[in-house]
Subunit: 411 residues, 2 copies
């Protein structure tokens, strides 16, 4: 029997208890022993709930109980999670976490402690909810040099963009509906501004490249500026707009970026709709692989947490995760990153064509019949800094409000 | 340093050597030691090739060399692979195999020997080429009870069906082109008759359900009868025809089947085109997950083999694969399996309607403008045996050649 303690009885914590109860026999068989929930740490008592008898309010009870071998941290947020997790690892207890903020910020250090203590710090659920991606990166793609990871890593924004695309609705009204349905938080900033995806791609990049990628260094742009008109152009062009979190090697340097992108329909990620997430990986020998599933939700996330608990129970005194070095990886500046821009421009294309051609060359003009007094272009690939300069010059040559929107393109 | 021996220097074998050379540093780092190819067993000498100096023709040299810890079996076919692999495991050497015939037929026994010897028998490359699926099933989906695995497991047939769908061509002409391009074998039976997919779904089912699923028991139907006219109907209905290998729990019983299916465009597998493969898994807590990538090819397959070699090298004296029991799993008979049929019927729908309605109820008639003197129906879901009886009755009521085609539907 292995005793575990769960820190936090919120959505994920109660999901973990539910999964352990629902599939008890098969889970214990795979773990090779019974997994016993000895404590659940929470501020509340949960009176009347069967969990009440194992609820404790004081972390010291858990940390000082030598019979507890695995700690499940599902509280979220950096503190007090970081203090609790570090203390547990230093005491020789393996930790399973679903906490992307914690892993993005302190993953390298916590993995190193686990390695030193010959125990484990596992965090499959911190990225992509139920989708197996951390373990495959760590154990299945070991023959490859990875040179790209691109993911749809946030279900809320993917739901919003899918709905805008399908139904031609505006961002605000879809967001409101998503909030009513519980698909978006009352304060949606972490999702719609891209911060959630940013932490997740920081974790994936660090694992793929073996060095610390600080999430603060990742260029991050949300989806709040995407309009229904942008979607109309995307559809006309056979493209779809997705919030993509990318980390990519160009020559021997790496860039990382979170931004809405117009994506060609041939890309495997273009078919990932609604709240689904997917992670696309390119390796130098395996080629393209993709992992797809529910990126959030109580039970899918709990499934990933419990799979980690099984692995921790099977390897109580043996470190199995490769670690990423605490050495910081310098990223390319966003202005150096090669990209293509889709640009919507106010005015008549015939009036503007001279200026557009002067700046961007003889590129195709996109004109939608149903939209008056504007047109769009897709530029050639160039460094973002250069493209931005040209956008500024276009404004200078015409008017300050001539550029209606700029969206990156991956075709 | 860990010495390995590779059995067979064909496409996959030479790919393994290439991958080990290309990514030597990162692979050795992940394995925690240098991986050294001590022998390659092949009938030929490969004169002038750098591999020549490690070529041996006699397996005894390898089996009797105690310094060889990992055997890589990439010969294919049941014999002599089975004899060689069993002998190696009994001698305490871990084995990595890409051989679906071997694993489908003897996987349970070989896993048991590896377990008894506390070594490993790994076979990630036997299903889905480079796609990580065996290890995720074994280590990532451990919190779940799996109740469905459905895969596009054969790249050749997926290429043919994709091309037929996209270009409206007939099966024979696409097959011929695929053969010229090297996407299909000169003798294409193993692919187009579904035998390859059958072995792969036997392996996945055995792992998912933990019991022996004999490939001989799996109902298998290939794609040779699919016509361009069938494709026209599918398109009209918003469906696509894919060769699906499925294993599914219905109540507490399991059925397994390989057959071309008309698939709704909302299904994640509907977007898997050309030579790509994908495996879709449903668990009782994780929900839907899908794994996507190149299902064959020299380097993707070698990538999976080498990842297994890394794992074997890291666990030289520790068994890490769960095993499937040698106990045979009884499958549902195909006639008991619930399904829907798409049926193309010769004649005029108005003449036939009375008989059709009598047998299948008031179902919708599908009539394509461009095709004369035939129509189609999609039945309600019913056991295959019952549906087959009705198809026979329809023939009896009308004429022997009235039924032009029958394809299962998953909408």
């Amino acid at each position: 029997m292995v005793n575990i303690a769960i820190l936090g009885y919120g959505t994920v914590g109660s999901g973990v208890v539910e999964v352990l109860n629902t599939n008890r026999d098969s889970i214990n068989k795979r773990a090779g022993q019974e997994i016993n929930i000895k404590y659940v740490l929470d501020l509340k008592d949960f009176e009347g709930d069967p969990i009440q008898k194992v609820i404790v309010h004081d972390y010291d009870v858990i940390i000082n109980d030598d019979s507890v071998k695995v700690i499940v941290e599902v509280m979220g947020g950096v503190e007090p999670a970081y203090t609790f997790v570090k203390e547990a690892l230093l005491k020789g207890k393996s930790v399973v976490s679903s906490n992307k903020e914690l892993v993005a910020k302190h993953g390298a250090e916590l993995l190193q402690i686990a390695k030193d203590k010959n125990i484990n710090f596992l965090f499959e659920a911190s990225v992509g909810g139920g989708i197996p991606i951390i373990r495959p990166l760590n154990q299945s793609l070991t023959a490859d040099e990875i040179y790209e990871i691109t993911g749809i890593l946030n279900g809320t924004t993917n739901y919003i963009l899918s709905k805008m695309s399908k139904e031609g609705l505006a961002f605000d009204s879809v967001l409101k509906e998503a909030q009513e349905k519980g698909y978006a938080e009352r304060n949606p900033a972490a999702d719609v501004e891209g911060h959630d995806a940013c932490r997740k791609i920081a974790i994936l990049s660090s694992l793929a490249f073996g060095m610390q990628v600080d999430f603060e260094d990742i260029y991050t742009e949300g989806i709040t500026k995407i309009t229904d008109t942008d979607m109309q152009y995307a559809k006309y062009l056979g493209l779809d707009i997705k919030l993509l979190a990318t980390s990519k090697k160009v020559d021997q340097r790496v860039y990382a970026r979170v931004a809405p992108m117009m994506l060609g329909s041939g890309h495997p990620l273009a078919n990932v709709h609604d709240v689904f997430n997917a992670i696309f990986v390119k390796g130098n020998v395996i080629g393209d692989v993709m992992f797809y599933g529910k990126g959030a939700g109580k039970l899918p996330t709990a499934s990933a947490v419990v799979a980690d608990v099984v692995d921790a129970a099977k390897h109580l005194e043996r470190n199995i995760m490769s670690f990423w070095s605490t050495e910081k990886m310098g990223l390319m500046e966003i202005k150096e990153v090669p990209t293509q821009y889709f640009i919507r421009i106010k005015g008549s294309s015939s009036d503007m064509n001279v200026n557009v051609q002067k700046l961007f060359g003889a590129i195709q003009i996109v004109q939608l019949e149903e939209i008056d007094n504007e047109f769009a272009i897709i530029t050639e690939e160039e460094a973002e800094g250069e493209l931005n300069k040209k956008v500024e010059q276009l404004r200078a040559l015409t008017s300050e409000d001539a550029v209606l929107s700029v969206i990156r393109v991956e075709n």
